[in-house]
Every structure is written in C-alpha cells, then in structure tokens.
C-alpha cells in the first residue's frame, strides 16, 4: 500500500535530482554482485587458466604425456624436478615437475590432466542435473504415490555415504573412467532432485500456474516453461559446487584404481600410482594433488560467489 502511495512522488523527486531510472535485469544485478567479490574473481581467474590449459594442452605441453623418454633423453626414473632458472645445470633437459615412474615428463601429463578433470566435473554434473531435474519435477508436480516413490528412492541413495556408494557402483559396473563418471552422477542425483522438487512445490499452487493451466497449457508446458525457470538459481549454485565435489570424488576413485586407468594422465590415478613413493619422490605426489586442489578450489569459490550474488538475503553475511 505504502509503495503505491509513494512511487509517483519518488520518481519525480529522482527526476528532479537528475537521476535516470534505467531498468536493470536480475542477471545484471547478479553479475555486478558477483564481480564485487574478490574470492569469486580469484576462482574465475583460476578457472580461466585451467580452461586455457585444457584447450591448448597439445601445444603448450613440452613432451608427449604418454610416451616414455627412454632412449630419447638421458633422464632417470622418478628424477627430481630440473628448472634452469633455479640453478639446474643448463646441459640437463628441463623438467619443471620432474620425471614420473614410467620416465615421462610429469608437467606435460599434468597439463593434459586439466582437460580430463574439467570434462569429468562438467559431464557428471550435467548428467546428474538432467536426471535429478526430471525426477524432482515429476515428483513435485504430480505428487501422490509417484512423488513418494521417487523421494524414498532418493532417501535410500542418500542413506549411503556418497563415496562408498560410488565405490560399490563402480565395482558392479567394473573399473574404468566412464563407469566412475556414471557412479558419481548417480550418487549426486538426489541433491538436484531435492532442489528442483522444493522449488516446484513452492510455486505449484501459485496463481500464474493456475492461469497457465486455465489457458489450456499442457503438463510439460507448465513444468518446463512456467515452473522450472524458478529452480534455475538454486540449480546453478548447486551445480557449480557439485562440479567441485564430482572432481574430488572422481579423483578419489581413480586414486583407488577404480576410475581412470593408466596410462591416462588423470590426476587422481597419477597420484595413486606413485603414492608409495611419497618419501622418495614427493614431487610425483605433490603436483597432481595440488592441481586437483586448485581446480576444486576454483569451482568452490565461483559457487560461493554465485550463491551470494543470487541470494540477496546473504548479502550482509558475505565478507
């Protein structure tokens, strides 16, 4: 009521002060808020570098990630890093992250690993979002026994610690990168199903949905055009943070030998292959793990930034 009273006068007073009223869309506000956060920008910067590396790995990598250097260069197995700038003799070939257990350049393998990690994170989350959205939307929209059934199945999936469930699923499907991705996707479906269901429930009874139905809109039209756009915001946040979790879990599965198989340059499996050498060749354990951490960190920072930007209620809490 007070809004209606005040608005005409306010506009004139603003005009009098020479301020123009330009319409700003939700996304513009969101981006502005997002870019104001330093940590989100750091995350974005790290991700930009990773994407660049992933796209250009074959040109910027100094060596072949698969081919052993036996007979090509005079290097030892698991040799320590040799960086010319840091005083390594110039007559020795430069390997800034050392040589791995199969006499390959670790730095080149690491660069190629960026490609794999990004693909892993994005593909598992996309798959989980698609399935989770369908399940959540169907359950929330139709309600009744179908909702009950879907949500009970989700409850059972959530009743297992996610990594353990993923390990069990991979064992059933057989070890391998693709199966690991499927397992991680399945494990993360309930989170998305719940998010979507919650937002469907919150708008299902609204007048505009009833209006759409009165106009003869079909169920799928109402779900996809009228209801699901409301779930976009929480899905984006959950998805970005989900990519971070997916990369961590995929790395853990590969570390245990259930995911990517050698000689694939996957960070988790690189680390797992050399873990018993941690005391003698720490560089082979340190760098892949550090790369995983940076990648996960970038998605976490971006996800947090998006959440704060999209949810104005949190604005005063953010640092």
């Amino acid at each position: 009521m007070s809004d209606q009273d005040a608005s005409p006068r306010q506009v004139t007073s603003l005009d009098a002060e020479g301020l123009s009223l330009k319409s700003v869309s939700l996304w513009q506000i969101t981006w502005r808020r997002f870019f104001r956060r330093k940590s989100a920008l750091v995350g974005l910067a790290i991700l930009a570098v990773l994407v660049f590396i992933a796209l250009t790995a074959q040109w910027i990598a100094p060596y072949d990630p698969y081919k052993p250097l036996i007979g090509i260069e005079k290097v030892q197995r698991r040799e320590k890093p040799c960086i010319h700038l840091l005083g390594c003799p110039k007559d020795k070939p430069q390997h800034i992250m050392g040589i791995d257990g199969n006499v390959r350049d670790q730095f080149s393998r690491l660069l190629f690993g960026a490609r794999l990690s990004l693909i892993i994170g994005i593909s598992t989350v996309s798959f989980a979002i698609i399935i989770g959205t369908i399940l959540g939307a169907v359950g929330g929209y139709f309600g009744g026994w179908i909702d009950n059934l879907i949500m009970r199945v989700m409850d059972v999936l959530l009743a297992f610690p996610s990594l353990l469930l993923a390990i069990t699923i991979v064992t059933v499907l057989g070890p391998g990168l693709i199966n690991a991705l499927i397992a991680i996707s399945i494990v993360s479906i309930p989170a998305y199903a719940r998010v979507v269901r919650a937002s469907v429930l919150s708008v299902r009874e609204m007048d505009y949905v009833a209006a759409s139905r009165a106009l003869g809109g079909s169920d799928s039209h109402i779900i996809f055009k009228r209801i699901l756009p409301n779930a976009l915001t929480p899905l984006i946040v959950q998805g970005t943070l989900g990519i971070a979790t997916a990369i961590l879990e995929a790395a853990a599965l590969s570390f245990l030998g259930l995911g990517a198989q050698p000689p694939t340059p996957e960070w988790g499996s690189m680390l797992g292959a050399e873990r018993n050498q941690v005391f003698t060749a720490p560089h082979l354990v340190f760098y892949p793990g550090f790369a995983i951490m940076l990648t996960v960190l970038s998605f976490n920072l971006i996800g947090d930034g998006l959440r704060d930007a999209l949810d104005p209620r949190l604005a005063h809490v953010s640092g």
Binding site: S39, A159, F160, L163, L164, I167, A251, A252
Partner: protein, 360 residues
C-alpha cells in the same frame, strides 16, 4: 510433543532401512565374477564349486536368498566371510573400532578448531584473522583427503624425523606395543561367546579408551601419536565447513536486535557471544556436523588405505575387490544403518534446539 516427533521420525526411517537392505543385497548379487573362484582360487574344479555354491545357498532363487538374508539380519547374524573364514560379525567387532576411533577423533579435532575459529572470525569480522580463516577454510574444503594425508605423512614422518614433532606414518600402535584388553586387566571372567564378550572386545579395541581404562599411559601416548595424522587428514574438510558455517550463522545472529539489547544492558561481551549468540547459531552447525559424518565415513576408506589402518573402510574396499559377498553386504548395511541413526539424531536435536520444527 518432542516424544511424538521422535516416534514419527523413527517410523519414517523404516522404509529407508528396508531400501538399504534391498540395495545392498542386490548390489552384492550383481557384482560381476564368480564368487566361488574368487574365494577358492582360479583352479577350483567345477565339482568343488558346485558343492561350495550349494553349501552357501547361492543356488536358491534370489527372492528366497533375500528372505533368508532378512531373517538372518533380524537375528544379528551377518553370515560367514568366505575369505577370512570367520563370522562377519566377529570381523566387524574387530575392524569397526578402528574406524569409530578415527572418525570421532577427526570430528573432535574439526570441532575443537573449527568452532572457535568461526566464532572469532565472526566477532572480528573483516580482520586479518577472519580473512586468514576464510582463505584456509576455502582451501581446506578443496583438498583431496588422500593427498593431504600423504603430504602430512611426508612432513611429519620424514622431514621432521629426529625432532620432537615426528609422528608415525602408519598403523595404530608401534611394533611391540601390546594392548591388554581392559577386561583381562580387571580380571573379569567372560563367556567365550555371546553379546557381553562382543561388547567388551569392541570397547577394548578402541585403543585410547582401553588405555584409559587400564591406566596404561605408554599405550595411551602411542595410540594418540598414531591417531594424529590420519584424524587431521580426515578432519580437515569438516573443520573448514564447521568454521565457515559457524562464522556465517554467528554473523547473522550478532546483527540481531536482542544482541544489541544485551550489549546495551551492559552484559559482558564474552557472555553475550557464548550464551546469546552462539546458542542461537547452533542449528546450522548441527546440520553441517551431521552431513560431515557421511563424508567422514567415506573418507575413512581413503584415510585407512593411506595410513595402513585395517578399519571398516579398508576392509570393505578389499572385500569388494575380492567379491566377498558376506562382508560387502554386512559392512555396507552397518555403515548405512549407522548413518541413518546419525541423521535421526541430527533431526531430533533440531527439534530440541528449535521447537518450531516439531510442529512441521
């Protein structure tokens, strides 16, 4: 009202429990490979295998096997482990204490460090300590457990060798360190089998508790030094989560009018923080602690693998690769039931902390 809520919540857990049993049963059956040859070796003849499958009841129809399985579980009998040749329940009593001790130590460390850091960060909002804590919290949640464990091992077991900060890289106790069970030291005479000896054995395998009960200080020190690295590795992610959530919910509460009123009344600031603000920011904290327990149990597989601890996680992983049905089923069921009970406790403590939830 609270009692009613607890009862209602308890009954809603039953379908989930049934689902867990169904899933674990199915998963164990569809694991590819022939269980007979996995146990008796590749060279086992068809005759030996046929007898083996008949003896274990693996030739009966799947629904019959499931019914038998449900009956056995109801009696607390998880069957035999093919590989270890002993009842799974006994194996569980042997291995579970390692994981319980590790998870609780990890949770304890994460709360001990995370909660005060979160409170200080909120009170000293935007100070250097706040910025530092938040940077560390962000890095902490992004670290792979297995990498952190290996790095800690490198620093504390190799780099700091021959210093007082040296910590052992693996195992639960040093070689030659013997742990007499408390019930032997106390001179209890317990029957060979049954529930009482099982419970006593379980408790005695919690090294720290057993050392305290038997006043064996050398054992206590040894057990604790072995536990530090794995539990720090396992506890870092929950620690970071706890610090973050404590900070954000404290910030929210500290901005409330009643906190300002309390300050205006001239109450000591520390009392306001701990009694007025912290208690009201407990709810999200309980959620995070509850959620962390799941990641602790999952992370235990990785931590136990790295630090050479034969706990539930490691044993389960070994059993999966060896297709030991009995262990896979039993351990997954126990972990999942444990997890469901923990979630139940979290929900109930919600209802206790916030009466509005009971009316839902």
């Amino acid at each position: 009202m609270l009692i009613q809520y607890i009862i209602r919540r308890f009954f809603s857990a039953i379908p989930v429990l049934f689902g867990i049993l169904l899933v674990t049963f199915t998963l164990a059956r569809v694991i590819p490979g022939d269980p007979c040859r996995a146990i008796l070796g590749e060279k086992a003849t068809q005759e030996v295998c046929d007898r083996f499958i008949r003896e274990k009841g693996l030739d009966k129809p799947i629904p019959v096997q499931f019914w038998v399985y449900l009956n056995e579980i109801a009696r607390g009998d998880f069957g035999q482990s093919f590989r270890y040749g002993m009842p799974v329940t006994r194996l569980l009593i042997e291995r579970l204490p390692t994981t319980v001790e590790l998870s609780f130590a990890a949770l304890f460390i994460s709360m001990l460090v995370g909660i005060p850091l979160g409170i200080i960060s909120a009170v000293k909002h935007n100070s250097w300590i706040d910025v530092f804590t938040m940077i560390w919290a962000n890095i902490g949640v992004s670290m792979p457990v297995f990498w952190l464990g290996l790095m800690l091992m490198y620093v504390f077991s190799l780099t700091l060798k021959d210093t007082p900060f040296w910590l052992p890289p693996s195992g639960r106790l040093s070689a030659g360190m013997s742990a007499d069970p408390f019930y032997v030291v106390w001179g209890w005479s317990l029957p060979e089998t049954g529930l009482r000896i099982a419970i006593a054995q379980f408790i005695s395998r919690l090294n720290i508790l057993n050392a305290l009960l038997t006043a064996n200080w050398a054992l206590l020190k040894d057990a604790i030094t072995h536990l530090i690295l794995p539990s720090v590795a396992l506890g870092t992610i929950p620690m970071a989560l706890i610090a973050r959530i404590t900070r954000s919910s404290m910030l929210e509460v500290l901005g409330q009018d009643y906190v300002r009123t309390a300050r205006a009344k001239g109450l000591p600031y520390l009392k306001i923080i701990l009694k007025h603000a912290f208690r009201n920011s407990l709810l999200p904290l309980v959620t995070v602690i509850g959620l962390s327990l799941g990641s602790l149990l999952g992370g235990a597989v990785l931590t136990e693998t790295i630090f050479g601890l034969s706990g539930v996680g490691r044993t389960l992983y070994d059993a999966i690769t060896a297709r030991d049905y009995g262990i896979v089923q039993a351990f997954t069921v126990v972990i999942a039931i444990f997890f469901v009970i923990l979630n139940l406790i979290v929900d109930i403590s919600y209802a206790y902390l916030d009466p509005r939830i009971r009316l839902d």
